[in-house]
């Protein structure tokens, strides 16, 4: 079965779906109109002021842990949490990584997912977490590390942490602050750009990631190709057509670009209906490399003023390829117009 037809069938909602939407709609319509956020905010602020004005308690000095090797552990789906260094370091996770080092300097290599860390302060424990994009160093604090295709994000609950990103930047962040270390490899940035595009994040953010990717050092040809295609798509989507045109031409200038047909079609479309001179080289490429009916019609339209015979040939090919009455009628009208012009 044709894939789009299959998709249409599979996404056709049934009576149960309609019923659920109606129930959800009705229940949401009956919710209270608004929550008094201003009042809640003021009350919270007042509580905070009272809390800050209370006399503070001096921290009680505690013994520093011995510098012995830590119990090495694999952090994966078989467990969700771990308490180590005599209960002074607590880890909770959804993802995978590896714990090693010593009791004074536990070291976690975090591969992917969410990791939450609590380190008891004033115990002389210097814990570090490494991902491909970031190194986080802490002495007594609570924070979390989340790593996925978009990069590594560090969020601090209390205390301070030093975050060093793989691009060389380093920053000290405190309570309720967060730091994002983006992937620095070309392939990592391509994955991030695709994820952002899929999440419909602003095109400028996708473009920034694409441009970082195109400037990265370890760029393979295939990754550069895909990043360039994304760049053309996003520039076109935000209406920066001139830049999109230049990017498409740049892509096509590379030796044997794998998505040449697609990019020639972009370049022809970006030239606009009126600019046949810019569009023709692309339309000629499409004519010779698996054109569709639209390509041939546009090619004929651009070719007609200078070479009616060639235009007619293209339209006749398009007529053979067309499979709807509507398309055939349009092509036949164009052929008739060409005949009259003769």
């Amino acid at each position: 079965m044709d894939p789009l037809h299959q998709f249409r069938q599979d996404t056709e909602p049934d009576a149960a779906a309609f019923g659920r939407v109606r129930r959800l709609t009705e229940s949401r319509l009956q919710r209270p109109a608004s929550v008094p956020w201003l009042g809640i905010g003021l009350a919270a602020a007042a509580l905070l002021v009272v809390f800050l004005l209370l006399p503070g308690q001096a921290p009680t000095p505690k013994a520093v842990v011995a510098d012995t090797p830590i119990s090495v552990a694999t952090l994966d789906a078989s467990q969700k949490s771990l308490s180590t260094v005599d209960g002074k370091v607590k880890l909770d996770w959804q993802g995978s990584g590896h714990l090693s080092g010593t009791n004074r300097a536990p070291s976690i290599d975090w591969d992917s997912g969410h990791l939450s860390v609590e380190v008891e302060p004033q115990q002389g424990i210097a814990l570090s977490v490494q991902t491909r994009e970031a190194t986080v160093r802490v002495v007594g604090t609570g924070f979390s590390v989340h790593r996925d295709v978009l990069g590594t994000r560090v969020e601090v609950r209390h205390g301070k942490v030093q975050v060093e990103c793989s691009d060389g930047s380093s920053v000290l962040i405190g309570e309720s602050q967060s730091r994002l270390c983006m992937p620095s490899s070309g392939v990592g940035l391509l994955a991030r750009a695709r994820a952002l595009q899929s999440a419909e994040m602003p095109a400028t953010e996708v473009l920034t990631t694409v441009e970082l990717g195109l400037n990265s050092k370890d760029l393979s040809e295939s990754v550069r190709d895909e990043l360039q295609v994304l760049q053309v798509q996003e520039l076109e989507a935000v209406g920066r057509k001139e830049e999109a045109k230049v990017a498409a031409e740049r892509y096509l200038a590379s030796p044997n670009p794998p998505r040449a047909v697609e990019m020639h079609r972009y370049a022809a479309a970006l030239a606009g209906e009126a600019d046949c001179a810019s569009a023709l080289p692309h339309l000629e490429y499409l004519r010779d490399h698996g054109p569709d009916v639209d390509d041939l019609q546009r090619y004929a339209q651009c070719k007609a003023p200078s070479d009616k015979k060639e235009a007619r040939r293209a339209l006749e090919t398009a007529l053979k390829m067309s499979d709807t009455g509507e398309q055939r009628a349009v092509i036949q009208a164009s052929l008739a117009a060409l005949g009259k012009a003769d």
Binding site: F7, D10, P13, V21, Q233, V261
Partner: protein
């Protein structure tokens, strides 16, 4: 597929006529759920998003000045709601625990079971298009609307619909080839172009 805008009905809904509201639901609910299912992507629960769209419609209908443009207005709300749901799903990935959502659509076994492998791959190919391209492809090639209908819905010139559709089809064909889906026959036929 295309539903005419009934101004009398809309006026009655505005005035609180519950029967008119039922009729409006019966007419437009399937359309909205389809849009959400076909354009929302794998991370969005189409029924949840559709309910948000309908709540927005029913609470803001009074502010709609030109009742004749109801369909374009409704589509605009759907588009913004889907974008918000996509962003919410994105944030959920970043900060687990921020949104407690036991009914994650991506994990629902019934949804997984009812969605064929082919459809999952088509959805993936649609996700690889830009949002502008995805919507013209769905509206023209999946829903069989004409250029003029889509231009009206999106409030853009029909020439823009044509050029976007041409690019969308090209990207979609390339995506189908990459995902081993074969040539999508429907594209050669209906709508647009």
């Amino acid at each position: 597929m295309t539903i005419g805008v009934d101004q009398t009905l809309l006026q009655a809904v505005r005035e609180g006529d519950l029967r008119a509201r039922e009729t409006l639901f019966a007419q437009w609910l399937p359309v909205v759920v389809r849009w959400c299912a076909r354009m929302g992507g794998p991370s969005v629960d189409p029924e949840d998003a559709a309910a948000d769209v309908l709540v927005c419609v029913l609470t803001r209908l009074e502010r709609l000045r030109d009742l004749d443009s109801f369909d374009a207005w409704l589509y605009g709300i759907t588009r913004r709601t889907l974008a918000a749901h996509r962003r919410k799903a994105w944030v959920r990935r970043w900060v687990p625990g921020v949104f407690v959502d036991p009914d994650d659509p991506a994990d629902r076994p019934d949804r997984l079971a009812e969605c064929s492998e082919t459809s999952a791959r088509v959805r993936q190919v649609l996700e690889e298009l830009t949002a502008n391209q995805r919507e013209v492809l769905v509206l023209c090639d999946l829903e069989g609307r004409t250029d003029e209908e889509v231009a009206r819905l999106l409030e853009i010139p029909s020439g823009t619909v044509k050029s976007r559709l041409r690019l969308a089809r090209s990207s979609f064909r390339a995506g189908c080839a990459r995902h081993a889906l074969g040539e999508p026959a429907l594209l050669a036929g209906q709508g647009g172009g």
